[in-house]
């Protein structure tokens, strides 16, 4: 449950600006030392913390249109889902409702919800590899290391020391580049200031060549994301599950919003929101 002195980091991805180039995904992999297997066409085994999905409107030629959904971890903490047009961020006070699907099933506390930041952590060395969390995540954001990464000779030289490479048998996922938050906090501590909006930005946000990704504190009116999530064009994925994700999407295109499970009419959405979003 969110309290006034806590922050909630979140992301807004503008689907209308995303051109599906994959720079975010690649920047994420290089930031977080993600490995490459000999066969990456086996998507069940392929690990992509941030995967770019492609959808199309299903219309015949020449009215066909595609759009892209970059999907990081949603960093859920159940709560009241915002109605379309008034998407605002609110976590439920009832602990039964305010759970995170993956955290609530983890028997090893290898993943946890950080009340101070709203980030769902992942500690690979604690993970026992049971994969309950993989099954529980409605967004397929979690991946299991089925194999050891066969780093080609010499390539470990290019790995970052700020994120440990994972071993076989553990689960991994997007952490909103938590190592960057730690560094920003250290810097702020030494400098005597606070972690500012631009001090902590994820690798994907920085890399995006069309500036489609915005990252910041959802509850902080000074941050860009706070304003963006109140747009009538903002929505989230699978809102009806009540997972209350911290990753928002924006699109002016109605068919895109419809596909993203935001097709409830205004009246129904308000009703659903009022009843906790579990309808």
């Amino acid at each position: 449950m969110w309290r006034k002195n806590q922050v909630r980091y979140g992301m807004v991805i503008d689907v209308d600006k995303c051109t599906g180039c994959g720079a975010c995904a690649v920047a994420c992999m290089s930031e977080n030392n993600v490995g490459v297997l000999p066969d990456e066409t086996d998507k069940i085994r392929s690990i992509t913390w941030l995967r770019v999905y492609q959808i199309d409107n299903g219309k015949p030629f020449p009215d066909t249109e595609v759009a892209f959904f970059p999907r990081p971890c949603m960093h859920c903490q159940g709560g009241t889902s915002g109605a379309p047009g008034q998407a605002f961020f609110q976590e439920d006070t009832d602990p039964q409702e305010a759970h995170t699907p993956c955290v609530s099933v983890c028997p090893a506390i290898a993943t946890d919800y950080d009340d101070a930041t709203g980030i769902v952590s992942q500690i690979p060395t604690r993970c026992i590899g049971c994969r309950y969390c993989v099954a529980a995540c409605p967004y397929h954001a979690r991946y299991f290391n089925w194999y050891d990464v066969p780093w080609p000779q010499g390539t470990p030289r290019g790995l970052s020391p700020f994120v440990s490479p994972r071993m076989r048998g553990v689960v991994e996922k997007c952490t909103f580049c938590y190592a960057r938050l730690q560094r920003a906090k250290n810097k702020a501590f030494v400098g005597g200031g606070k972690v500012g909006e631009m001090d902590y930005q994820t690798a994907c946000t920085e890399a995006c060549p069309s500036g489609a990704i915005t990252f910041g504190q959802l509850q902080n009116p000074a941050h860009k994301v706070h304003k963006l999530i109140q747009s009538e064009f903002a929505f989230r994925l699978l809102e009806k599950l009540g997972t209350n994700p911290k990753v928002y999407y924006m699109s002016k295109r109605k068919w895109v919003r419809m596909m993203a499970d935001n097709h409830l009419s205004q009246a129904k959405a308000t009703q659903a929101a009022a009843s906790g979003g579990h309808k």
Binding site: D14, D16, K17, T19, G20, C21, G22, A23, A25, V26, A27, M29, S30, E31, N33, V36, P38, D39, E40, T41, D42, K43, T48, R51, D56, G58, K59, P60, F61, P62, T64, E65, V66, D148, W151, P152, Q153, G154, T155, P156, R157, G158, L159, S160, P161, S164, P165, R166, M167, R168, G169, E206, A207, C208, P209, S210, G211, S231, E232, K252
Partner: protein, 769 residues
Amino acid sequence: MDWDRRTFVKFAVGAVIGIHASPLIPKFMDDTAIWTQNWNWVPVPEDGAVAYAHTVNPHTGTGAKAKLIDGRVEGLRAIRVEGNPNHPLSQGGVLPADASALQLLYNSEIRVTKPLLRNRSTGVMTQLSWPQALDLVAGNLANLAKNGQAHMAAALGADPSSTTGQILMRLMQALGSPNVAFTPTPRETMALAGLFMMGQPFLGFDLANANYIVSFGTPLLDGFGAPVAVRKAFAGWRGYPKNQARLVQIEPRASVTASQADQWLACKPGSEGLVALAMCRIMIDEGVYDRAIESAYGWNDADGLPGFKSYLLKNLDRAKTASLAGISLPKLVKMTLAFAKADRAVAVCGPGNSGDPGRLYDFMSVLALNALKGNLGKPGGVVAQQPLPLKSLGGALPEAKPPALAMAGRPFGVNNVHELAQAALAGKPYGLKTLILCGGNFVFNGPQANVMHDLARKTPFVVAITPYMDESAGMADLVLPSTHWLEGWGDSTTPFGSAVSCYGLHRPLVKSVDEAKDGGDILLALAQRLGGPVAAALPFKNLGEAMAKRTQAMGDFKKLAEASYWAQKRPAYGAMRFNTPSGRLELSSRVLRNLLSKGGRDADKTARALGVKAGAQTAFLPHWEEPAAYAEGAAYPLVMQAVPSLRTTWGDEAVTPYMVKILPDTVLANTDKLVVEMHPATAQQLHLQEGDAVLVESSAGSLTAKLTLYAGAAPGMVFVPLGLGHKDFGFQVAGKGMNFNRAVKVTSDPMSGMPIWELTGVSVKKVRG
């Protein structure tokens, strides 16, 4: 003691209690946890002091920032490539190719570390020392020159405007060989179109300030110009609740650009230039072109508007043209009127979806459309770039006497690597004895890969200067290791279509692998060994010195190298200067007329001999001619075009493992199968279904793939992802998909003489697979 039942039970219970009381179990569990998680093959990256250094990726034009770590044991190493927010074009953004550059840099399984000599019959590679390797090449070239066969040595390079490219050109010219060619780019087509019509070779589109953009078949968001810069402009066009600018895409497929555009007009393949002409006609008919230009350009003679106007009125019926291009006329008229009305509208041409340099007349038609809109030199229009203040590396060298292989009968010299290869293979007028491949991986990138493969196979002595054991190195007799762009000196010039000129420079940031040297250094060392006029033409100790001389006008070289770029401050707005014979914008090009009738030749005959079907009068005007792929006959009823993507390739570098990793299964299916797209109706006609294994065959080559049905693909076409199918580059990249360039048929643009391969006539058959 007797071992009766009771003793046994006591002992067993005692053992269980004892083990539980001891630290054995927790210790064993702890060890198990450590044992299962601390394999010695899970790398532990070394920590150290962090520093950043600016650089520019010459393959993508992205301004980058390398994150470096200075470790106590491992020394200085790069751990990430991020964007440089100060760079005027890329402003902090990166491409997948930039962000994953380290995967090529540090992969010692694919890097060439020492000069290698191959035994052609056994394929065995032997290591040579640098002096031995250089002596071998210099001896070979000197021998050719001594026997008057210098022209039988050819060199292929990646970028003619880079300092390494300039050194390569001077080296070959001083040696006496006219045979140098480079990777074909739309920069050259644009330079010709600009020169012919405006006397301006360096033209750009002010995309960032435009508010109505019509893109003619160019992948604006998938590899046009400096891709990050285009995306930055694109980001500015979007907005809530209304977009700031309107983007119209004209092309046959529901591509990324078409989908992100506000309007997609699906046209027949190759008819984009025709649509531009139809828009000109509509603007003239409706009288909505910029009237001010008539007097400003002095457009009242036949070279100006009247000639073009009468050509359009005579030859371009609106309804017929629209149906020929497959676009609904009312939609086209509505769009044209909106284009004419917009205050900052621009029509954009560029590289084709297959990565080809574009057709000259299509570019001229788009420039004509911009001229009618009256946006030349205006914000959001077509602007002339300030030429980069680069000095020449030395005085002019004497022209080589024998005719170049690629110039057969053309009125002006162009860079056509494909014609060079074909002429050399046919031995007309002569064959090659030595081939130097300096970057560009021509055996893979082609443009027609199988022809380049044959050329490398048939030429007796092939030298590859490359950082990687790529396909070109795989065909070479001698492989010379060059540096990766993060390890060595190098530069790149203004990307295609940029409104401002921009010079990018990269310098050694990390120690180079083993014995790799800068490509330019290798060429300079070669020149020194050759001695005589060659050494005199290239009096530089190393590439850094040559670059310092070339960039003298950009200020202190050390500061420039640290900043990593030089850029024109703002686009050159204001009346454009036309350096044409008439001093005006010539819609009917006098330059072209003079070239065709040079030496008293009959211009009409010359034009027809080159393959311009329309004959002389129209040959000087922007006009449309049917693509060669249409005339392939009944054996090849479908038209093949590539699907470019920043996830598969950009520039001449190979895809990286991360780029392969993020390919969706509509591009690369399990297991490692290339996927080609087709419209469901076309597939039905051919009795093909989703998931079928198919053979895509042209008159020049073929590829096999898995078929996927996509409603956004134009009927009658097949779309193939570009840039996959490497044979080399390590287990994470090799053997993934097939190479599009092994199936294309390259032809030459009749007028520009550039190689073009946008469309290829193909047949598609079901095969077992």
